[in-house]
Symmetry: C2
Subunit: 388 residues, 2 copies
C-alpha cells in the first residue's frame, strides 16, 4: 500500500508573458515544428499570431495541422502523423485545449507506427516512443498539459478510448490564464466539472491514500468551487482563471493518486456516452457524478461522504454522518446545475434510454467496474436511468 | 504576479521494497558509484547492506565517503569531491537525511571545480554542472531529496550558507517510510518543526499566492500536526511515517511557492544560530517560529493568522480575527513544545544573548530581511530576545 513512482517531467511556464521561452524550448528538439490546433479560436484571440512570431523569430520552420475536433478523432491523428512522416517533423506544438493536446500526443506516437493510429488505442500495437510535445493551453479542463494520457474517438466504430504512456508527457507546457479569458460560460462550466470529476474519481475510491493527499484533493475541489463562479461572472479575472488552470493540471497529473488502489467510474461511463452522442465530456461527467455518488452512498461508504461534506462544503461536523453525506450531494448538485448552470439530465440534452444497455456493457467491459463500489452492467444502467 | 516556472525533474520511488530499482537507476549514469553517508545508523538499520547488495548485483563499482556531519561541513564536501576526481566517479548516491544529501549535492558540484568548495557557497565561483545525484532518504525533514538546494557550514568562519541551483536536483530519490522507523523522538520532532517551518515561511509571506496553494499548504500543515504525535508514540506506524515523508518533500520542492513574492525569515535567523551553536536546525526553527509570528502579528497581518487558525487548527471561524490569531499561536506553541516536547527557549539549550547582535546583523545582511514583515537588525535582536 502507498507504493508508487512519482515522475512528472513536464516543465511548466505559468503566467502571462512567458511565450518568449517558446522558441528556445522548441529549438531543443530540432528545426521543423508542426503546430496542431482546432478551429479559429486561437486566431481570434491573437494567440496564433504570437506563436507564429515566436517560431519565426527562433528561425524554426512551421508546419500546421488544424481542425482538431472536440472529442478528437482518430482520423485527425492519422492526418497529423502523415504530415510528420512526410515533412520530417522534429517537434509537435499543440495549441488549444485537451482535445488538441490529446490528438497531438497520439500524432507523436503514430509517427513511429506505419499502420492506422487506431491500432495504438486498441492496443494492437504498443507505443515505443513519440515525437517531443510542447503545449500551449487555452482551456482549463482535461489536464492533458501535464499528464501522459489522452482519449481518442472513432466515429466509425462509436468507440472512445483512453491510453496512458510515459512517452506522451508534454516536455513543456505554457499555462497562461489570460489565454482562457475568452472561454465562454458553458465551456468554463464544463471544464470545471471535468476538473472536479478527475479529483472525485480518486477521492471516492477503493482504499485510503495518504491523508496528506486527501487534504490536497479537498483543497483542489474548494478551489474549483470558489473560483468557477467568479470566472463565470468575470471572465477576465486573473486569479480565478489562474486557480482553475493550475488546479486542472494537478487534478490529473498523477500526484494526488499517491499509490491509491483505484479504478475510475464516471469516466468509463461518460466515454460511452460521448462516443455515441458526441456531447461535451465535462457535461457528461457533471450529469453522471452526483447520480453515481448517490448510488454508491450507504453505511459502508458514508464516512468518505462525511469527510467530503465537512472539508469541502464546510458542513457542520457535528451533524449525523448520513445527514452530512446527503447534504453534500445536494450542495454538489446545486453547484453543478444551479451555480454553473449545466444541464441536470440526459433528457434535457436529448439522450433517452435506447442505448443504455450497450453503453453499460461496454463501460464495464462486460464485467465489473471495480471502483469506489463495484458496478456491473445493471448498476451502470441504473445510474444511467437516474440521469434521465 | 503568479508567473513562475514549475520544473521538478526528480523521479521518486515511494514506499517499501522499491530498492530493486536502484541498480538500474544508477547504471544510467555509469559504473563508478560514490556512496555518501553519515554515521553508523544506516548500518544498524540494515540499509547499508541492502544498498551495497543492490550495487554489487548491478555490477557497479562502489566507493564510499562516510562521516558527513549534521550541519554538514565544507571540509566533508571537499573530501568527497577529492574522491570523485581521483576515482573518476560517475554518479553519487546519498544515503541519509538532509545533511547527507546536501553535502552530496555540493560534492557533485565541487567535482567540477578545482578550488575550495567554499568558493561555491560564497558565490566566488558559479556552479556549471554537477555529478548526477541519487538519494535514499532516512529522515523526513529538509526536503533535500526533491529540491535543488543545500546548506553547508564552515566551522572556521562560523558561517552557514545555502545555495540553490537546478543542477543539484537529485535525479532519483528513494523514499521508504520504513527507513525512518528508527528515527528517535527528538529527531522526529525536529524534522516536523523543519517541515512546518518550510511551509510557514511561504504561507506567511509578502503577497497572496494562488488560493489553491494556500489550501495545499494548509493540508500539509494539518498532515504534520496529525501524524507527528502518532510517529512519536508509534515509531513504526507506516501511515504516520509515510505522510511525514511525503509532506517533507512537498513542503519545499517549490510547488507551494507558485510565483509568490517572498523572502524567508526564520531560516536566515536560524542559520546564524546553528552556525555558532551547532544546534539541530529544526529545533532552532521551532523556537524561533512562534516568536517571529507573534512579533509580526498586527492589524495588517491578522487576516493571514485568522486563515491559519481556522483552516489549520479548526478554530471557530466566527470568533474575532485577533482572538483567532492569538489562539492559533497558542496552539502552535502547544504543538511544538508540549506535543512534540521540544525545548521552548534559547535558555533551555544554553544560548544567551552574547551573540544576538552579530547574528542579527548577519541574518539581515546588515540591511533588512524583506519577509512577511520586513525585519531589520533591531527587529531580529528583539525576536532573539523573545526566545530567551
Amino acid at each position: 500500500m502507498n507504493s508508487f513512482i512519482y515522475d512528472i517531467p513536464t516543465r511548466v511556464y505559468f503566467g502571462e508573458n512567458q511565450l518568449g521561452h517558446l522558441g528556445k524550448e522548441l529549438s531543443k528538439y530540432g528545426k521543423r515544428v508542426l503546430m496542431v490546433y482546432g478551429g479559429g479560436s486561437i486566431k481570434s484571440i491573437g494567440l496564433y499570431d504570437k506563436v507564429v512570431a515566436e517560431i519565426k523569430n527562433a528561425g524554426l520552420e512551421l508546419f500546421e495541422c488544424s481542425g482538431i475536433e472536440p472529442n478528437p478523432r482518430v482520423t485527425s491523428v492519422n492526418r497529423g502523423a502523415t504530415i510528420c512522416k512526410k515533412e520530417k517533423i522534429d517537434v509537435l506544438l499543440a495549441v488549444g485545449g485537451g482535445s488538441t493536446i490529446d490528438a497531438t500526443k497520439f500524432i507523436g506516437a503514430a509517427t513511429y507506427y506505419e499502420g492506422d493510429a487506431w491500432d495504438i488505442l486498441t492496443r494492437k500495437t504498443r507505443i515505443t516512443k513519440s515525437l517531443p510535445i510542447v503545449s500551449i493551453l487555452t482551456l482549463s479542463a482535461t489536464g492533458s498539459e501535464m499528464d501522459a494520457a489522452g482519449v481518442i474517438s472513432n466515429m466509425e466504430t462509436k468507440d472512445k478510448i483512453g491510453l496512458m504512456h510515459p512517452a506522451l508527457f508534454p516536455r513543456v507546457s505554457f499555462l497562461d490564464p489570460t489565454n482562457t479569458y475568452t472561454v465562454d460560460a458553458y465551456q468554463t462550466a464544463c471544464g470545471a466539472a471535468d476538473i472536479l470529476s478527475h479529483i472525485m474519481e480518486v477521492y471516492f475510491n477503493r482504499n485510503q491514500d495518504l491523508y496528506m493527499l486527501d487534504c490536497v484533493m479537498e483543497g483542489l475541489m474548494k478551489t474549483v468551487i470558489k473560483y468557477t463562479p467568479i470566472a463565470l461572472t468575470e471572465p477576465d479575472n486573473y486569479e480565478a482563471r489562474a486557480n482553475l488552470m493550475w488546479a486542472s493540471s494537478w487534478a490529473i497529473n498523477g500526484f494526488i493518486n499517491g499509490g491509491k488502489r483505484q479504478a475510475w467510474s464516471c469516466h468509463p461511463m461518460e466515454h460511452e456516452l460521448s462516443a455515441i452522442y458526441d456531447i461535451t465530456h465535462g457535461l457528461g461527467l457533471a450529469i453522471l457524478t452526483p447520480r453515481w455518488l448517490e448510488y454508491t452512498l450507504d453505511e459502508t461508504t458514508v464516512s468518505k461522504f462525511y469527510q467530503f461534506g465537512v472539508n469541502v462544503f464546510d458542513i457542520d461536523k457535528n451533524a449525523e454522518p448520513m445527514e452530512v453525506a446527503k447534504k453534500s450531494m445536494d450542495l454538489l448538485s446545486d453547484f453543478l446545475f444551479n451555480t454553473l448552470g449545466l444541464q441536470r439530465t440526459f433528457t434535457e440534452i436529448g439522450i433517452d434510454d435506447s442505448n443504455f444497455s450497450i453503453m453499460a456493457e461496454k463501460a464495464c467491459g462486460g464485467s465489473v467496474l471495480p471502483g469506489f463500489k463495484p458496478l456491473n452492467q445493471k448498476d451502470i444502467e441504473n445510474i444511467f436511468s437516474m440521469c434521465l
